[in-house]
């Protein structure tokens, strides 16, 4: 069997395991808390649902009579059927429906921001490591660290205030204006774009420093390796050394970090969305917390987790193509 296929299969199994871990956490956490989890969870449904409907809902989350293991399998069964329960704050919409409307916006925002900041950050990081101007280095590194130390949503607040409120260059909320009709028309796309700029800029701004620094550090450690010294002895010029040897090797640990960075940037995206009332998962998250909408909360957790797992699998495949050593 092809070694690469085996490797991807193993990674896939691992992600399945992680997914089950997430599901199990979802299952266990309510039950580990003091008090009756079922009552707490469904407290808000009183008066809104008929008793039979309430029972059916309880069953979805595995709150039936019977041993813990049976409850667990009940829950999993429902999940695989696409039944994530009913949302309290968006009653009577099913959780999955509520989430799916927002999931695309979150992934769009987070995904594109991640790619842009990764590409930009890595390029600048390579340049930084190569042109080791001491003064530039001592200035840039603390500055970048400082910029990356601000919470995502705080930068969002600042940008919203200055560019949206004071200068009125960009809209203050939502993903697109109420006056345009969704579809593949120019005004819609333009509207989406203008609403996208500030949130995306927030995410890119804060995470850029991190990518620059990590790429720079990777490059610096590579520049100390034997094969770089050897390549220098062979007399290759700067350009070849930088790209063929150093960057190529520095890219690998960077891309490995990519998968994890997705988790981070998603977290940042969630909070940023709140500031801009961007209709993604973050906004939903806030509603869910405020309204104690547990079904929705758990649903959001699962969908975000699954998205991250899937993206990681894709990154693994890309990494496989770039690093021959993994195939061993």
């Amino acid at each position: 069997m092809n070694k690469s296929v085996i490797y991807i299969f193993r990674r896939f199994l691992f992600y399945c395991l992680a997914g089950f871990m997430a599901i199990t956490l979802n299952f266990l956490i309510p039950r580990l808390m003091p008090g009756d989890p079922a009552s707490i969870m469904f407290a808000q449904f009183k008066g809104k649902l008929k008793p039979e409907a309430l029972d059916a809902l309880k069953e979805t989350f595995g709150f039936s009579d019977g041993p813990l293991l049976t409850q667990y399998f009940e829950y999993i069964k429902h999940l695989f059927q696409g039944d994530f329960g009913i949302s309290i704050s968006y009653f009577p919409q099913p959780v999955l429906e509520v989430i799916s409307s927002g999931l695309y916006w979150t992934l769009f925002l987070a995904g594109t921001s991640l790619i842009i900041s990764f590409v930009l950050g890595s390029i600048v990081g390579i340049y930084l490591a190569w042109n080791r101007d001491q003064k530039l280095d001592s200035f840039l590194i603390p500055t970048l660290s400082f910029l990356g130390a601000f919470p995502y949503f705080w930068i969002a607040m600042l940008l919203l205030y200055y560019f949206g409120f004071i200068l009125d260059w960009f809209p203050l909320r939502h993903a697109y204006s109420q006056h345009v009709t969704p579809g593949f028309n120019f005004s819609f796309i333009a509207s989406v774009f203008s609403h996208y700029i500030l949130p995306a800029f927030t995410l890119i701004f804060v995470s850029l420093g991190g990518w620059m620094l990590s790429m720079r550090n990777n490059m610096i450690s590579i520049l100390g390796t034997e094969y770089i010294n050897y390549a220098k002895a062979i007399g290759y010029n700067r350009k070849i050394l930088m790209f063929k040897f150093a960057a190529r090797n520095a890219l690998l640990p960077s891309i490995t970090g990519f998968g994890m960075a997705l988790g981070f940037i998603l977290s940042g995206a969630l909070l940023t969305e709140i500031i801009f009332s961007y209709p993604g998962q973050g906004y939903l998250l806030l509603q869910a917390v405020r309204a104690q909408d547990f079904p929705l909360l758990q649903g959001i957790f699962l969908t975000i987790t699954f998205s991250v797992l899937l993206s990681n699998l894709i990154v693994d495949i890309v990494l496989l193509l770039l690093d021959p050593r993994i195939r061993k």
Binding site: Y15, R132, Q134, P151, M157, I166, G259, L266, L286
Partner: protein, 303 residues
């Protein structure tokens, strides 16, 4: 013990670390002395949403409270929780990572799997579902921070323990009949001091950011004065839409400054542990900055 003190002193020689330490100490000092420096942060002291003035250096927030007092008092709880969670994260990480790295085999397989899974699960959503179910308060936040933050440091510490475990000095100790416990505690961990210190700082930085994020969502104890709850109230009171920037800017800048100071200290530790960077710095100083590591060996004839 002697080595720890020597280590701390050598950090003061590093420019970046020195600045970081000064900033951090200032914040710590200010947070401890807050009751003596400002009035109450929770009382209604003035007209809400007033811009900064001579009476109120940072103005008032949407509930008529003194923002300056809030910022200073907020430092107390935020920093305390951050450092405490940082410490716990490193303890858990060192224990699990150390055991996994040293003993290997099945135990390592299981712990590594656990580490990898936890690294993968996205932080914020996980924190949210945990915090939503737990009663609001500092204990909840600490639990949540440790639960989501231990994996990264466990992995880092584990790798290093694995490297040392196969080196001759450990093998020699084993041949001399030393117990595993003593080998880990006396021979291996003391050699990892820079790494452990670096992890502690990293975990603390994480502690600040994650804590603020949670409280911003309203999952902290909103009756307490912390940097995170300050921001929560600022958004709640529509600071954004009324342009009351002073209700959130000071807090944000404080958060960034403290995180920055910790990062600088971390850079200092890094440079201490990386001899090549130190060599390059010495040479660069001697050549008055005219040094590029990618060029040929420099020549300076003195005769």
């Amino acid at each position: 013990m002697k080595s720890i003190i020597k280590f701390l002193l050598s950090m003061m020689n590093n420019f970046k670390a020195k600045i970081g330490i000064y900033i951090l100490l200032s914040f710590l000092l200010v947070s401890i002395l807050a009751p003596f420096l400002v009035g109450s942060p929770t009382d209604y002291v003035g007209i809400p949403l007033q811009a900064p003035s001579m009476d109120f250096w940072f103005g008032t927030n949407g509930q008529g409270q003194d923002v300056f007092a809030q910022t200073l008092y907020g430092a107390q709880k935020t920093l305390f929780i951050a450092f405490l969670s940082g410490l716990l994260v490193v303890l858990v990480g060192a224990m699990l990572g150390g055991v996994a790295g040293y003993f290997g085999n099945r135990l390592d397989d299981i712990i590594s799997l656990l580490i990898n899974v936890f690294l993968l699960l996205p932080g914020l959503p996980l924190m949210v579902i945990l915090a939503a179910w737990l009663p609001p308060g500092p204990l909840t936040i600490i639990i949540v921070l440790v639960f989501t933050g231990w994996a990264w440091h466990a992995r880092v510490l584990r790798s290093q323990v694995m490297v040392y475990r196969n080196q001759d000095f450990v093998l020699a100790s084993r041949v001399c009949g030393e117990s595993n416990f003593r080998i880990i505690m006396v021979e291996i961990l003391p050699r990892m001091l820079p790494l452990i210190a670096s992890s502690f700082i990293g975990a603390t930085i994480y502690g600040i950011g994650a804590q603020v994020g949670l409280e911003f969502l309203g999952l902290g104890d909103i009756s307490q004065v912390t940097w995170g709850t300050n921001l929560y109230w600022a958004t709640n009171d529509l600071a954004l839409l009324t342009g009351s920037w002073w209700t959130y800017v000071p807090t944000g800048v404080s958060i960034a400054l403290v995180s920055l100071s910790l990062t600088l200290i971390n850079f200092g530790i890094d440079e201490l542990a990386n001899p090549r960077l130190i060599s390059e710095r010495h040479l660069s100083k001697r050549l008055d900055g005219d040094f590029d590591r990618n060029n040929a060996t420099p020549v300076r004839k003195i005769r």
